[in-house]
């Protein structure tokens, strides 16, 4: 089961200059909410921005991560 710190680190190392805030939504370790700020989102549609974040966890969302809520911003 991934922790919020692990998820934060994985997002920050996968997306250029990203800073992420991750919370465990339910306290159960499988519903996470992440707010990610990165210049890499500039010029991308919302769906493309979210895909960048989702792709970090490809295969895990729907599996060990039951729900993953994302909010993306540019700095």
């Amino acid at each position: 089961m991934p922790t919020t710190d692990e998820i934060k680190q994985r997002i920050e190392s996968a997306i250029p200059d990203a800073s992420a805030e991750v919370e465990d939504w339910t306290g159960g370790g499988d519903h996470f909410r992440a707010t990610v700020v990165s210049p890499a989102f500039a010029g991308l549609s919302r769906i493309q921005q979210h895909k960048l974040v989702m792709d970090v966890f490809a295969g895990e969302i729907g599996g060990s991560i039951h729900a993953f809520s994302v909010k993306t911003k540019t700095p």
């Binding site: 769906i47 979210h50 989702m54 490809a58 729907g62």
Partner: protein, 136 residues
């Protein structure tokens, strides 16, 4: 969506439904009885715009979700498609509702200030599709 035929009738049926419905939501449960909070919030946002939409319950057959996610390259449910394009899931739809972009995307007039809580259950004239029936 591509027009190409595959050896996969379920995937073809999903692609066809996406192509044939200007606004289509793949969700857990039905608009009347959503089976998941994320699907419920998405339905409420859509209904609050007053725009008609089609809805497909992905729960009756796990293959619907598999094929949908393979087609859309998006892992979670719900998934909203407008004019054949994936718009997003609950987060994106909710954000777009709050900013008024959802109204714009659906071609309906945005209210002066869309409140953050879509609670109105307007009759959106949703037409649930019986995808599973076409496959039996």
């Amino acid at each position: 969506m591509s027009e190409q035929q595959t050896e996969n009738p379920l995937r073809d049926a999903i692609a066809e439904a996406i192509r044939d419905n200007q606004v289509i939501l793949f969700m857990k449960g039905t608009p009347e009885m959503p089976a998941c909070g994320f699907s419920m919030r998405t339905v409420q946002a859509l209904q609050a715009t007053g725009a008609p939409f089609a809805a497909v319950d992905i729960l009756p057959d796990p293959r619907i979700r598999q094929e949908l996610s393979a087609l859309s390259n998006w892992p979670t449910i719900p998934q909203l498609f407008v004019n054949g394009e994936l718009v997003g899931g609950c987060d994106i739809v909710t954000e777009m509702y709050e900013s008024g972009e959802l109204h714009e995307a659906l071609g309906v007039e945005a209210p002066a200030a869309a409140g953050p809580g879509p609670g109105e259950t307007a009759d959106a004239g949703s037409a649930p599709l019986g995808i599973e029936n076409r496959l039996s």
